[in-house]
């Protein structure tokens, strides 16, 4: 339960990159947890959205990489419209996904989706899923 925090990590490329892609100021967060409490998918998350923000602040990239949270976010924007500090968390989550996807690491593989599933899933579901979960 002990994590090393250093100024190298905090002022490192990771937080900068998140800021660049999202254009959101992560430092605004005051950790009220309203995002997590209203998140419809928080029940399945190993780290809560507010914890993700804190990890970005501290530059703890590996902890985020180990977590499922950013891949579970459905961009429903409930947190974004409610955040009392006006932080658009959905944009931050998208930036975090992109940092991974741009390394060409897809979250889902088309080849692994069964034919039955492909027949069943409407286009809108497939297109949106590929847009969010593949490079």
């Amino acid at each position: 339960m002990r994590v090393e925090v250093s100024s190298e990590k905090i002022s490192g490329d990771f937080a900068k990159k998140v800021k660049e892609i999202s254009r959101e100021d992560i430092l605004l967060c005051y950790q009220c947890g309203m995002c997590s409490a209203g998140c419809p998918i928080a029940f399945a998350m190993d780290l809560l959205p507010n914890q993700i923000i804190q990890l970005v602040q501290l530059g703890l990239e590996e902890d985020i990489a180990k977590s499922r949270t950013i891949w579970l976010c459905a961009s429903c924007l409930t947190c974004s419209v409610r955040c009392p500090r006006g932080l658009d968390l959905a944009k931050v989550m998208e930036a975090l996904r992109l940092i991974s996807l741009r390394k060409n690491i897809d979250y889902i593989r088309l080849a692994e989706i069964s034919h039955d599933a492909l027949a069943e899933l409407p286009q809108i579901v497939l297109v949106s899923s590929f847009r969010k979960h593949t490079a």
């Binding site: 947890g33 309203m34 928080a42």
Partner: protein, 651 residues
């Protein structure tokens, strides 16, 4: 007249002389035009230093003086007074700052000396063009207007009236008392709000120096500090205040009901009503909108049963004019409408209360007789207290409302005392900053309250058992909680009154971005406004608790008392002046001035601008927009400033 300028350079010990070659600056001063005497001294601000200057003025007939020393913000006044003592108009003085802005921030002796010479040169050139200015005074009317009869207005009115000065206390509602009279117990001491406030209300009612204008509103304010004229509209109560004894028979007989404002909607009141038993003045008022007589011409039950024949349907609004020298605005706050956060379910589900509703519920004199009850008449077994409803939130009000943490804790305490309920308190940060507040937090912690550090996201009701499900994150353990409770108490933000803009306009004061009234200086002049003679106190200046409100009210009263005690005001001398021969009467100055000082008037059939010298603050923006150059600012004339700019730019 020939200019005879004296220049004095201060060493300030080594503060100046350590970096600046004072002898060289003095020598240089002697080479400047019209300088007849030039000296240096170790400490010019000392009595001996000042005597030196005074003596020169008298003996050498100096008509202009320049001192190069510390910042003018430090000693300009000292030397102006010295000039005045020696019979020289204080405005014929100029101060050069060669310490804060030369010897202290610079280290190179040669460059610092050069700069000091430039600063002295600029001061000498400027002072050449200085004109003597007259210092004017005006009398102050000792009467005072206090607007708002909550605790702030009551305190301010009493402080002033106790000094035996006449106070007009204007209150919009039928009774004074404000929000405080609605509160049950007050944190952290838990003394009963009513018990501590009603004696003060009675004192107001009986005070020989207070003229209470309840059920009245300020309509118009004109004039300026020391001499305001105020029009107050006294709304028709349809009850003769002088006859009504407050017996309440009319209330009993009146058949028409609506939600009681005093009881926060938890009980009803009649169309003719006394808002609460301790009302001041203790007289009935007819709610014209509700009274059926005003709609159909029938009923008049109240009139029939009134033994004192106080009911008077023929009453009309009256306008009263009062003259006062100063004004205190203490108009209080509104409470954030929790319906604006529909995710909290207020107004949608039962048993979600606002703080004020809960205050009435725990009040012994309230609609439930002090019992905490659910809609179904039972006591709750679990209650959630939700902090920061509409405050600390960019979507509503960004500021902290300052009192919610503490009254939230108070509710937790009362619930533990009055019921057997499990209490959950959801907060973002616990702010317990006042006297005895942190101790109170500790006391409530011991009483077995569950503190959850997280902002509530949403509240839903279970359709089957009516339980309320409160969703929030416990950010300490990093888990999302769904807390199932019988009752929720919301702690809504205190916000600026919805009519603040209107009131600001009436009194020519300003609003901050957060909606509250703007103080003259946030730290050093918190009860004054930029308009002289108008002061603010209490929550109209921003959310605050009762102790701070009372302190601020007394502060505003003391400001007013100093004005009255001096009895006259010194008018700013360095103000705008119009060269009527050049004025086009275009009105640009009038448009730009925030203080309404210039006014275009007809003079000998020509439209010219005229400056109201009591309103002008000398900011100079009118002179900048004046297209003809007719407007100038005394002591900051074009010639004076330009001469300085030139002198500073020259090599």
């Amino acid at each position: 007249m020939d200019r005879r300028i004296g220049v004095y350079i201060c060493h300030c010990g080594l503060n100046i002389a350590g970096t600046v070659d004072v002898a060289e600056v003095v020598r240089y001063a002697g080479t400047l035009d019209s300088v007849v005497i030039f000296r240096d001294y170790r400490y010019l601000c000392s009595d001996i230093g000042q005597e030196l200057i005074k003596k020169d003025i008298k003996e050498l007939g100096l008509n202009r003086v320049v001192v190069a020393a510390c910042s003018p913000r430090m000693h300009e006044l000292t030397f102006r007074n010295a000039c005045q003592d020696a019979g020289l108009n204080p405005y014929l003085y100029e101060h050069a700052n060669i310490r804060e802005q030369c010897s202290w921030p610079h280290t190179d002796r040669e460059l610092a000396t050069d700069k000091a010479k430039a600063l002295v040169r600029a001061a000498v050139r400027r002072v050449y063009y200085h004109e003597p200015l007259e210092v004017k005074e005006a009398p102050v009317n000792p009467n005072v207007l206090v607007v708002g009869g909550g605790i702030a207005g009551i305190q301010a009115a009493l402080d002033i009236a106790n000094g035996e000065h006449k106070v007009y206390l204007v209150e919009r509602e039928p009774s004074i008392g404000g929000h405080m009279i609605q509160l049950d117990r007050t944190f952290p001491t838990l003394d009963c709000s009513e018990c501590i406030l009603t004696p003060k209300m009675t004192e107001v009612a009986q005070h020989p120096f207070i003229n209470l204008l309840a059920y009245s509103e300020v309509e118009e304010v004109s004039g300026f500090v020391g001499k305001f004229k105020v029009k107050v509209r006294k709304k028709a109560r349809f009850v003769d205040e002088s006859k009504c004894t407050g017996c309440g028979v009319c209330e009993q007989k009146c058949p028409w009901k609506t939600d009681s404002e005093f009881e926060a909607g938890l009980a009803k009141r009649k169309a003719i009503y006394i808002p609460f038993p301790q009302a001041v003045p203790n007289v009935a008022t007819i709610d014209k909108k509700l009274c059926v007589y005003f709609k159909t011409g029938k009923c008049r039950a109240c009139e029939r049963f009134c033994e004192e024949r106080a009911v008077d349907f023929s009453q009309v609004d009256q306008t009263i004019e009062v003259e006062v020298g100063s004004i205190i605005i203490a108009t209080g706050y509104d409470i954030f409408d929790s319906r604006l956060m529909p995710q909290y379910g207020y107004g949608r589900y039962d048993n979600i209360l606002t703080g004020l509703e809960f205050e009435r519920m725990t009040s012994a004199g309230g609609p439930t007789g002090g019992r905490v009850l659910l809609k179904n008449g039972k006591e709750p077994e679990s209650v959630a207290i939700v902090h920061c409803v509409g405050s600390r939130d960019k979507n509503y009000h960004e500021y902290c409302s300052r009192v919610c943490c503490m009254y939230g804790l108070k509710y937790a305490h009362l619930l533990r005392e009055l019921t057997k309920a499990e209490v959950y308190e959801m907060y973002i940060d616990m702010r317990s900053f006042g006297e005895g507040y942190e101790e109170f937090y500790e006391r409530v912690s011991r009483e077995g309250v569950n503190f959850i550090r997280g902002k509530v996201a949403e509240i839903a009701a279970d359709p089957v058992d009516g339980k309320l499900i409160v969703s929030c994150t416990d950010t300490v353990i990093g888990k999302v909680l769904r807390v199932c409770v019988d009752m929720v108490i919301l702690c809504p933000a205190l916000k600026a009154r919805s009519d603040t803009e209107q009131v600001a306009k009436t009194f020519a004061i300003n609003q901050r971005a957060d909606g509250f009234f703007l103080e003259r200086h946030v730290k050093l002049d918190p009860v004054a406004t930029p308009t002289d003679g108008i002061f603010i106190a209490g929550c109209c200046e921003g959310p605050k608790d009762i102790p701070d409100t009372v302190a601020q009210a007394s502060a505003a009263a003391s400001k007013v008392l100093s004005l009255i005690s001096k009895g006259r005001i010194t008018l700013e001398s360095a103000i705008a002046t119009v060269d009527e021969t050049r004025c086009l009467g275009c009105g640009r100055c009038e448009e730009t001035c925030t203080f309404h000082a210039p006014k275009v008037v007809a003079k000998n059939g020509v439209m010219v601008s005229e400056i109201n010298e009591t309103l002008c603050k000398g900011c100079g923006t009118c002179a900048v927009v004046c297209p003809s150059g007719a407007m100038s600012i005394r002591h900051f004339t074009r010639q004076q400033v330009t001469s300085m700019v030139e002198a500073l730019t020259e090599a």
